[in-house]
């Protein structure tokens, strides 16, 4: 049977990908942020998961505002990265697992999460940068990857509680897949940041650290917060952090925290890295 062996949180901002491409990861500005991934790299090296589900939001590559699914899952054999308008060279394509995806989609829909199923899905920086920061750059990626997109761009958005419940349903889906597979869930984005408005540039370290503690030990604290409250505390774009709750829900009630790392600022944001395993 398939099994979720752990969950990871990571930033997905464009600047992270640029820093990797430009060879800046050991520059003073970036070093502490990137070095904080080393324990995660070691864990991935040791555990060798077969598949990663990357929970992210699309920023206008695959989805335009004409059709905005609240939750969407890739159900294809492969996913391409593409130019987001900045002329960057796309990464190598990612191998998916269509059978696994369709099983997950069916299970989620049976559990009343009405997913949008995508047989073609371009993946943007929200998906690609977590892959690059976790696995390095590859012509052939060392792991199968599935995009799970959450709308955090055009309100109304799903609540933190809804994301948490989606994660719980995702666990049921994965646990019932008949093939032996080790699966990791990455919750990406955040933490606090605001890109526009007079309040642009805000970072709320206190709130970020509270969220990290909540994600580890008391997910209901974060799940109970309204979208308005999270935006007020974490910024209008910091609302992305709700995607961590999908990862958290998929790990079960208690978790062991193997690694926690926080850094600010990276570009406009507070950045949190967590490595969690389901606990007893």
């Amino acid at each position: 049977m398939a099994e979720i062996i752990g969950g990871i949180t990571t930033s997905h901002i464009p600047a992270v990908g640029n820093a990797i491409s430009d060879g800046l990861t050991q520059e003073h500005y970036w070093k502490r942020f990137f070095d904080g991934y080393q324990p995660v790299h070691q864990w991935l090296e040791e555990k060798k998961p077969d598949l990663i589900i990357v929970v992210y939001n699309d920023h206008g590559l695959n989805f335009f505002l004409d059709k905005v699914p609240t939750f969407a899952i890739g159900c294809a054999d492969a996913y391409q990265n593409a130019d987001e308008g900045w002329g960057l060279k796309p990464t190598a394509p990612f191998d998916g697992d269509a059978e696994f995806s369709w099983h997950v989609a069916e299970s989620l829909i049976n559990q009343e999460f009405d997913m949008c199923t995508c047989q073609e899905m371009l993946v943007d920086h929200g998906f690609v940068n977590p892959m690059r920061v976790l696995f390095g750059d590859h012509e052939v990626w060392p792991i199968k990857a599935i995009p799970l997109a959450v709308n955090t761009v055009q309100h109304p958005l799903p609540s933190a509680r809804r994301c948490y419940k989606l994660g719980q349903a995702l666990k049921v889906a994965i646990d019932s897949y008949p093939e032996d597979m080790k699966v990791v869930i990455a919750g990406t984005g955040g933490m606090s940041h605001q890109l526009q408005g007079e309040r642009a540039g805000m970072i709320n370290v206190d709130y970020d650290l509270e969220c990290i503690e909540s994600i580890i030990n008391d997910p209901d604290w974060f799940a109970d917060q309204s979208t308005d409250h999270i935006m007020e505390q974490a910024g209008t774009e910091g609302i992305e952090t709700i995607m961590w709750m999908v990862m958290r829900g998929a790990l079960g009630e208690k978790v062991n925290c193997l690694h926690k790392h926080y850094h600010a600022p990276i570009s406009n944001t507070g950045a949190g890295v967590l490595l969690l395993e389901g606990g007893a």
């Binding site: 502490r32 070095d35 904080g36 324990p39 920023h59 206008g60 590559l61 335009f64 505002l65 004409d66 593409a82 130019d83 987001e84 308008g85 900045w86 002329g87 761009v153 055009q154 309100h155 109304p156 605001q194 890109l195 526009q196 408005g197 007079e198 309040r199 642009a200 540039g201 970072i203 370290v205 650290l209 979208t227 308005d228 935006m231 007020e232 910024g235 209008t236 774009e237 925290c257 690694h259 926690k260 790392h261 926080y262 850094h263 600010a264 600022p265 570009s267 406009n268 507070g270 890295v273």
Partner: protein, 133 residues
């Protein structure tokens, strides 16, 4: 026909991209979305005003886009992620755009952000359990 009021409209200095804004700025965001395609970027560059007409922008939005008034474009409903497709290739980062809201330069904006790093490691040490190399 009335747009329902939301509590988030009271968050100071913030513009929440919701149905009301997405609806009013749909054509402009669609224009920016088209920039994912290099041939569209070239078509825009060849004749910005004509390209705005093709997408049906209002006269006001068209003027802002043609002037490359990034702050004005954001204020009139561009989504920040879509605006980035317009601004970044023109040497204006998302941080520069954020800075413009406060009337400061991008460098000043980045300086202010860097202040967040001061005392952070000590703070995390006190919290306990955080990686620090």
């Amino acid at each position: 026909m009335v747009w329902k009021k939301h509590d988030y409209e009271d968050i100071p200095g913030s513009y929440v991209f919701d149905g009301k804004i997405a609806h009013s700025a749909y054509a402009m965001n669609k224009l920016f979305y088209s920039f994912n395609d290099e041939s569209c970027r070239e078509e825009f560059n060849a004749d910005p005003a004509a390209y705005c007409d093709k997408f049906g922008l209002t006269d006001e939005q068209k003027a802002l886009v043609v002037k490359q008034d990034f702050l004005g474009v954001l204020r009139s409903g561009a989504n920040i992620y879509y605006m980035a497709k317009f601004a970044i290739p023109r040497g204006v980062s998302v941080q520069d755009a954020g800075a413009a809201f406060q009337g400061i330069t991008g460098d000043e904006f980045r300086e202010k952000l860097l202040e967040k790093r001061e005392g952070l490691e000590e703070r995390l040490k006190k919290e306990g359990g955080y990686w620090n190399g």
